[in-house]
């Protein structure tokens, strides 16, 4: 975890705030005057992880950029729930173009700022997993390859939620979406397809790649800080549970994200220039089943008949992540 080094103070570095910490060590979210980049009145569902994740990321980025920042947004829930004409929830300079071109627009903004001598203004681009791993993927890969000075954030809710929960290249195997129904021998999304874009980003050997979730704020903020302290192409992939698409209780958004990491289903790591440099260790390991049972999109694995074969495959995927990234602390 990149947010340790905090002396034991009752909640250590797990909670959002800590009254016993030095002010400069406190999280951006705990500040009374935080940027609130995405303000109240937005139309995201109750308990939306994406709305939460976006505020976490942009408030930290705003703090790091001291407010000198432009945000480029792809089409998706994040854009639709925040900007129904003529209202906006954004309290950052914010630009929307298309579903598939946010990385390219951000590249253009960065070039424009450089050309006009405003190179102290930072550029952050953001989009859903559909925008990032599917339709905008060529633009993203190009932005990586050119090492454009952009921090790109993907909010991964595992599907095209804005248009009614269709499968994306980031939908996990076995999950039910409206286009991968829970029918047949292999119900839900298929195994063996889909894209692991964080690893693909690492393969581009760009300066910085990291994953994070809305369940570990201090880790997430540390990664945004680190990324904002660098130049060139940077990529941050944030897991953001979606109560509507995942069929989960709105109160469980943070809990589900936590179980995703604690089960090994979603590995949290950092990489620089092609090498993994740190991983967030699992604190209290749980079987992947604990993660699955809170979500309606996996309900068909437990009723009417329990599909141990499928659950085992998902567990095997988590185990593979654990082995690949060394997520479990070696007991000496």
């Amino acid at each position: 975890m990149s947010s340790t080094g905090v002396k034991f103070y009752q909640v250590g570095s797990f909670a959002v705030g800590n009254r016993l910490l030095d002010p400069e060590l406190r999280s951006a979210q705990s500040e009374q005057g935080r940027a609130n980049s995405l303000t109240s009145g937005h139309r995201a569902c109750q308990g939306c992880g994406e709305a939460l994740g976006a505020r976490y990321v942009l408030d930290a980025a705003m703090r790091a950029a001291q407010g000198r920042m432009v945000t480029v947004n792809a089409t998706g829930c994040l854009e639709v729930f925040s900007t129904p004409y003529p209202e906006t929830s954004w309290r950052v300079a914010w630009l929307h173009s298309l579903f598939g071109n946010a990385p390219a627009v951000a590249t253009g903004v960065a070039a424009g700022l450089r050309a006009t001598g405003k190179d102290d203004v930072r550029v952050v681009a953001q989009g859903g997993d559909g925008a990032t791993v599917d339709i905008g993927f060529a633009c993203l890969s190009g932005m990586f390859e050119r090492n454009d000075d952009v921090l790109y954030i993907c909010y991964d809710n595992g599907g095209y939620m804005n248009t009614g929960v269709q499968r994306s290249g980031a939908t996990p195997p076995a999950a039910r979406t409206t286009t991968t129904q829970a029918v047949g021998d292999e119900p839900g999304n298929v195994f063996g397809q889909g894209k692991d874009v964080p690893r693909i980003a690492v393969a581009h050997e760009i300066p910085y790649v990291a994953t994070a979730t809305v369940a570990d704020l201090r880790d997430l903020e540390a990664k945004v800080d680190k990324a904002m302290g660098m130049h060139g192409a940077r990529y941050l992939h944030v897991l953001v549970p979606c109560p509507l698409g995942w069929g989960s209780a709105s109160k469980d958004t943070v809990k589900i994200a936590r179980l995703a990491t604690e089960s090994g289903h979603f590995p949290v790591f950092e990489a620089e220039r092609g090498e993994v440099t740190s991983v967030r260790k699992i604190r209290h390991q749980v079987p992947v089943e604990e993660y699955l049972t809170l979500q309606g999109r996996y309900k068909h694995l437990f009723s009417p008949v329990r599909r141990d074969d499928v659950i085992d495959r998902l567990q095997a995927m988590a185990d593979r992540n654990i082995a690949r990234y060394g997520l479990v602390e070696e007991v000496l």
Binding site: Q10, V11, V16, G17, G41, G49, L52
Partner: protein, 540 residues
């Protein structure tokens, strides 16, 4: 204003959109009763003072603590800490060392010379307290705080009751006892020592408006043990009393203590300190059924005290005892077996419990006495109006802590009675259950503190056995508290709300929900570590 192409409306903020209308459940902040507070017989709320101690505000912590209990340094040594038994943290790793922090605060206050608050006004009402044990002194302190004139009378030459004449000095050093009592006297309590109250009616005639009887249970129970004339038999209370007065009796080299309570253990450990080479406790049942506290038993055994379980004393002789082996029946009751054994013993100490001497109440009307104790109602008033009683003298668990609680509760009741108002005790808030906490957020902090606590335990002859914590360890231990059911301003709700609907009011002022925007998702409640937010159905 001229608008760009295809733009017809002015830009607006989403703040115009009150998403609070979507809500079917609303979050509300609550203050629940932490189990530690619920369990404390002296009505302390450990969560409150641990919270203050966490950031080193020791004086504030101490001041909060002494509102309930003026004896933290004593408590930190002799209280059996039911708070720790109840502590929610024991479900996570180990209970918070509440008692050790309490002792630290108490000792620190003595070092710093902090004084108890003196009442601003006086009511002119006079209360007589009979007995300067923990019960009487606690009542005197609280009555004084409420502005009454208090006189405490005690038969003994020095105040403290069983804290001085029962509990041995190796567990409760007398300088600690003296310091905490002196602080109470300094608030203006009048202490009349070596003054026995024999006649309650006469005392009342002196012009007292109310009396609190806190005479304890001073007389050691005598069970019938067939004994030869020459056998040396003493009772434990007298033994401890004489030792406390610096006049220890001669017990000989081999001492047998008969009984299984804390007093038996104290007598056996005291015998060791008086030079006995063998100190044996004879007890009818097994260790798990022994009322003596585990830690004290362990310390006694470390010091070489030996226990003969499942045994009774059948006959005492000069120099030796006849002991019968017992067996537990199905109900756990010890039954004789007819198997005997001889034990060498120069003296036999009986530690079979204490009785109360209530002769001072002779002739007082309307009292109910049960098994030698005086009955009181829920406001600690006896059947006789204006005469209240508490502590060891009434039917209850007999501990210093219970006595302090009785004293404090009785003081409130006496105050109400003197003012001729009804005593309204606020209802206790619901209990903060472990299941309502989100313990993910508490840093793992179980064992680091243990070795230091363990290392602090040393037997040093007649000196105090258990040593205190240093400031650093005390703060560390305080920080293990999970603040059950009480907001400790971790900012989690403020952070995790996807709708910015939690308003942070600033340090010490906690938070407020902005119901204009709260959609009622419930994340704040689910992620509140201390279980201080409840979701309740929306009533609109």
């Amino acid at each position: 204003m001229e608008k760009p192409f295809a733009i017809t409306l002015d830009v607006g903020s989403s703040l115009a959109n009150h998403t609070g209308a979507w809500r079917v459940e609303r979050p509300v902040y609550v203050d629940l009763t932490p189990p530690c507070a619920h369990a404390c017989p002296a009505m302390e709320d450990p969560q409150k003072w641990l919270y203050a101690a966490e950031d080193g505000s020791y004086e504030q912590a101490w001041r909060t603590l002494v509102e309930a209990n003026p004896f933290p340094a004593i408590m930190g040594r002799v209280c059996y800490h039911p708070c720790e038994t109840a502590c929610n943290r024991s479900f996570l790793d180990e209970a918070v060392g509440i008692n050790a922090v309490e002792r630290f605060l108490g000792d620190h206050a003595i070092e710093q010379g902090w004084a108890l608050p003196v009442p601003a006004t006086t009511t002119g009402r006079r209360v007589l307290v009979v007995g300067a044990g923990p019960t009487g002194l606690s009542a005197a302190y609280q009555l004084r705080r409420l502005g009454h004139e208090v006189t405490v009378r005690d038969t003994s030459p020095l105040p403290g009751g069983m804290m001085r004449y029962g509990i041995p000095a190796y567990r409760l050093p007398r300088d600690v006892l003296d310091a905490e009592i002196a602080r109470i006297v300094a608030t203006g309590v009048r202490l009349e020592l070596s003054t026995r109250v024999d006649d309650m009616t006469a005392a009342l005639a002196e012009g007292f408006d109310a009396v609190f009887v806190a005479v304890g249970a001073q007389i050691g129970k005598r069970a019938y043990v067939p004994a030869a004339e020459a056998a040396r038999i003493v009772d434990a209370v007298s033994l401890l009393h004489d030792v406390a007065q610096g006049d220890p009796p001669l017990l000989g080299r081999r001492v047998v203590v008969y009984g299984g309570g804390n007093t038996a253990v104290d007598a056996a450990r005291t015998a060791k300190r008086l030079g006995a080479s063998e100190s044996v406790i004879v007890y009818r049942r097994t260790r798990d059924r022994m009322p003596a506290h585990d830690s004290e038993m362990a310390e006694a055994i470390e010091e070489g005290v030996v226990v003969k379980w499942l045994s009774t004393v059948a006959h005492a002789d000069a120099g030796h005892l006849r002991v019968e082996r017992m067996e537990l029946d199905e109900t756990g009751f010890p039954q004789p077996t007819g198997e005997f054994e001889d034990l060498e013993a120069d003296s036999l100490v009986l530690a079979l419990g204490q009785e109360t001497d209530l002769s001072l109440l002779d002739g007082v009307s309307d009292l109910t006495l049960t098994n030698g104790s005086v009955e009181v109602d829920s406001s600690f008033m006896t059947g006789h109006p204006g005469i209240f009683a508490g502590g060891d003298a009434v039917p209850a668990q007999r501990t210093v802590t219970v006595g302090v609680g009785h004293g404090a509760k009785a003081a409130r009741a006496i105050d109400a009675w003197l003012r001729a108002t009804a005593l309204v005790e606020p209802d206790e808030a619901p209990l903060a259950e472990y299941a309502a906490l989100n313990t993910w957020y508490y840093a793992d902090a179980p064992h680091a503190v243990r070795p230091r606590l363990e290392a602090a335990r040393r037997t040093t002859g007649f000196e105090e056995v258990v040593q205190g914590l240093d400031a650093e360890t005390a703060a560390y231990e305080a920080r293990r508290c999970m603040s059950c059911g009480n907001c400790f301003e971790c900012d989690n709700c403020y952070g995790v709300c996807p709708d910015n609907a939690v308003i942070k009011l600033g340090t010490g002022k906690r938070f407020e929900i902005d119901y204009d925007y709260c959609k009622g998702c419930g994340i704040c409640a689910a992620e509140c570590p201390s279980g201080s937010i409840l979701m309740v159905p929306e009533t609109r």
